[in-house]
Symmetry: C3
Subunit: 436 residues, 3 copies
Amino acid sequence: MSELNMSREITQLRLYVFILITLIKCFQDVHVMIFVGFGFLMTFLKRYSFGAVGFNFLIAAFGLQWALLMQGWFHSLDYTDGKIKIGVENLINADFCVAGCLIAYGAVLGKVSPVQLLVLTLFGITLFAVEEYIILNLIHARDAGGSMVIHMFGAYYGLAISWMLYRPNLDQSSRLQGSVYHSDVFAMIGTLFLWMFWPSFNSAITDHGDGQHRAAINTYLALSSTVLTTVAVSSLFQKHGKLDMVHIQNSTLAGGVAVGTAAEFMLMPYGSLIVGFCCGIISTLGYIYLTPFMEKHLKIQDTCGIHNLHALPGFIGGIVGAITAAAASESVYGTEGLVNTFDFEGEFKDMKPTRQGGHQAAGMCVAICFGIGGGILVGCILRLPIWGDPADDNCFDDEAYWEVPEDEESIPPILQYNNHMRNKDVTESNFTVEQN
Amino acid sequence: MSELNMSREITQLRLYVFILITLIKCFQDVHVMIFVGFGFLMTFLKRYSFGAVGFNFLIAAFGLQWALLMQGWFHSLDYTDGKIKIGVENLINADFCVAGCLIAYGAVLGKVSPVQLLVLTLFGITLFAVEEYIILNLIHARDAGGSMVIHMFGAYYGLAISWMLYRPNLDQSSRLQGSVYHSDVFAMIGTLFLWMFWPSFNSAITDHGDGQHRAAINTYLALSSTVLTTVAVSSLFQKHGKLDMVHIQNSTLAGGVAVGTAAEFMLMPYGSLIVGFCCGIISTLGYIYLTPFMEKHLKIQDTCGIHNLHALPGFIGGIVGAITAAAASESVYGTEGLVNTFDFEGEFKDMKPTRQGGHQAAGMCVAICFGIGGGILVGCILRLPIWGDPADDNCFDDEAYWEVPEDEESIPPILQYNNHMRNKDVTESNFTVEQN
Amino acid sequence: MSELNMSREITQLRLYVFILITLIKCFQDVHVMIFVGFGFLMTFLKRYSFGAVGFNFLIAAFGLQWALLMQGWFHSLDYTDGKIKIGVENLINADFCVAGCLIAYGAVLGKVSPVQLLVLTLFGITLFAVEEYIILNLIHARDAGGSMVIHMFGAYYGLAISWMLYRPNLDQSSRLQGSVYHSDVFAMIGTLFLWMFWPSFNSAITDHGDGQHRAAINTYLALSSTVLTTVAVSSLFQKHGKLDMVHIQNSTLAGGVAVGTAAEFMLMPYGSLIVGFCCGIISTLGYIYLTPFMEKHLKIQDTCGIHNLHALPGFIGGIVGAITAAAASESVYGTEGLVNTFDFEGEFKDMKPTRQGGHQAAGMCVAICFGIGGGILVGCILRLPIWGDPADDNCFDDEAYWEVPEDEESIPPILQYNNHMRNKDVTESNFTVEQN
């Protein structure tokens, strides 16, 4: 081995180490986001915490296995021995697949049975794998943090399913569709773990040292500024200037979604801050005005408000990504940097940044189409009268699927499960006074 | 230095880095499991959350120091200067020692005083150190994730103590021996942190890159499949098909225990999935049928059901490990791989995999003997009338050892502490109705 | 490149890797401490959990950005292009800046408005940056874990503000200034995450492999022994020998504060254990005797008892650091070790350890002066009648600034905001009986 080779080898080792570290670290961080972050974020409902954290656990564990299989089959042609290889990259990718389905779960939280959730996940993972392949490989869009691939797809998938499963008699002011004091604190556990580890999420699959570093710091900055505008807008638009926990729990994360695509690009710190700033405003206003509007006029009942946390910021993220890509130039990235960042290699060797911007936009369209189309399809399946979904009166109630401890203010066990979506007359004598 | 040496050094550095990363990462993960995982897993009781998380904290902090000292003394002969060296491996080992005692705490949760817990820990760590030395060094069994060394030992140790401290008048349907809604959600924090970081636990002390990778992925897969079967069995065997939080909190972790020994071997992904699959079933059925049986007929009161989460899966893990070891061959592992994986070096240079299987089985027997024997011994000591354990009526009640805030549904302060195990007549006028 | 160079390069790479790992790992750990640790530690109040975790989130997100800017301006002279560079070291430093302000928040928890908190943070970060520069660069004191720079400064800053904002009519036995059962369990989440990750906090900015290792292990040992003495003292000094959750939540962390300065020095394991041992006693006794004394006689209302968790242990830490530094010698550290550990380079090339001890002590004085002086200054500003701080009757009540879910034992909405510090007559008809 010559000295030159040796020296090169050391440089490579340096890079290898950096990637290894971040892969291992990012994997664990993303894993925490999936199980603790998403799980606890949804515990805010007063009597659906078991369902939130428990079914989240179920979906994630099921989805991981299915995603590993799907990935294996997709890439099985690469190997000659017909075996599926599993490494830490596959585990991260599986977590990403699952994230899309968990986002969708947010829209139908409390209104579906665990069996329906498994069906939602089964199809969701499959659709995700195809959609991801089209966007990243065929269209050659870049999407490190999955603004389009994960967030937009997941959100529209969930919203379309929610639209298909519309429950006209689900009283909007249902006694169970709110939080209690401690359930809101539990939800903050989810918020904080998502918030803290989001930089790892957005930088996990960018495989070059520089891009990874950039992705983490851009995300960090965007998230910081989102918190401030969320608090400001929440206070300004609520009566008496009080803050609303729903906004703090959700909108503070919108910045992370919105820099997902552009995080690995040269978005620059001030760019990240501006994106986060805008997203905090838009997401919070979405919770105040858009969610009630969608429920009333569009027949979309969005329990967790994923439209404001994932769909809208994902949309912004896609646009920001397209613009940042189109504006890229060799003077900023350097020749090698440009090729590395946008992967202008092989078939796409002669790609220009401006065209890349167009491809990014095309990726967004694919994500929306797959989300809405897939959601309507799966919604049709979930309307079949065989899944044991709860009656309107038992929505948002753990009593329907869990053994709930008795000694607290308990809900009378008049449970009804639907055999079809049209709801029969449901007894409404639910408020029997309890004696402690 | 020749070029060959240089090249070798770079390869070594590559390995060194991998080990360093995983040691540091695994240490922190195991640490989180010990303090947050075990601590919160036991908070499910309605009025014993302080004791669960607080005494867990106390035991762990005490145990760590004692374990570091024990390790130092055990290895003090290796050093000439008589000093105890402390490095990150020692800290991981100390966490492992403590894990055994925390498992044992699960069996006696709510029925012992903090002083009894310190005694339990003091002897537990000491027994663990001897037992570990015999199993790993003398018998030369391999046990990366501690299915035998940690889980079986800890569980039988705790169960034997619980048997010695049997309380005949501890009403099985005691008003405090259940959960409330939010205490079950707290317990899920423990479950999830244990579940997510279990791959680090099982791979922490496997010191070769490949084995570590393998251990983490096998554990991950086993845990995933356990979740599915746990949910299925819980739903199938409960009245009305409802899920039981106790199963979700505990049985979902059984797969991690059961692949502990075999995780670093060539168990193969499908092997891990099958082990996890079976363990989910066995552990959940254990909670439904075995725990009540043991309490009624064997006089073993097992508060957390550690028999189903640690003893049974640990037993399965030991068997699976023995079979996997016996089935090992050079064609699968490669010559070097076989030597590295099973450490066929020095005194055990001529060991054959089939014989290794026998040694694994012998290790299991030692773990059981130490657990039961040690538990009976320590149980005798804990029956001495000097430890201030709570009367039957004050079991599962934080009021006995903690200043509890008053404003919630409070428990009347008729506290009695035992001076001996035979309980005197205890006033039972505990149910004074409270007015809020 | 010669072989010697190559060999040196490999050694350097080894060090680089270690630093890289620990920087990335420590950053994430410190980040978790800031958001989850500090946030949940303060949730113990029965009706101020939203404020605790939510305003902690707000302050931290705001402070991070401000701290990044401040750092950039401070170091802008180093760069020729006028741009602010952001790397992972800056993010860690920003977290450290924020930590000081969050400590200060502990003293005024529940008694100030979010706007006041933002002002507190704005000035706190600025003062911190100047104070840190003086202590570390001009005085050349060493303070890896920030016993002086972070903890003493933050604590005295908060206490001075609390003294300026003294509320004479804040009834000491206010119905809201206590915990409920589950709020205490939430606070334990904060305690445990702080406790587990404290070794990373103290070792994050020590940039040499050895010192970092040493800092982590010393902190680990000190924390372990603190837990034991805290439990012992809490039990001994309370009526009926019961443990107090306040001590377990707070005093168990005092050891980490107290070894902050000396952690990277050759404190030796037994030294750490002794420091932790003493701090557990002093901190717990502080909660029992000192906090009531200060509230009664010194007009300092310290909601979280930061005097006992940060000021006192920080003071001890400063002293221990000065003594350990003064006692340093080449025979223990080695010539190179001494220079590396104490950074005896450049302007301070001829520094002697004994003199370094004096500089350490000088650093303490600067920290106290900045804390108290800055606190009085900012306290004056916060007394201006424009910040919308809550009336005495609405202190410790989320109702003042948050939309609180209604269905729990609710507090009547007679809210008053102060326009000046002198409180007008406040209606006290607060105890309307609720019917569930």
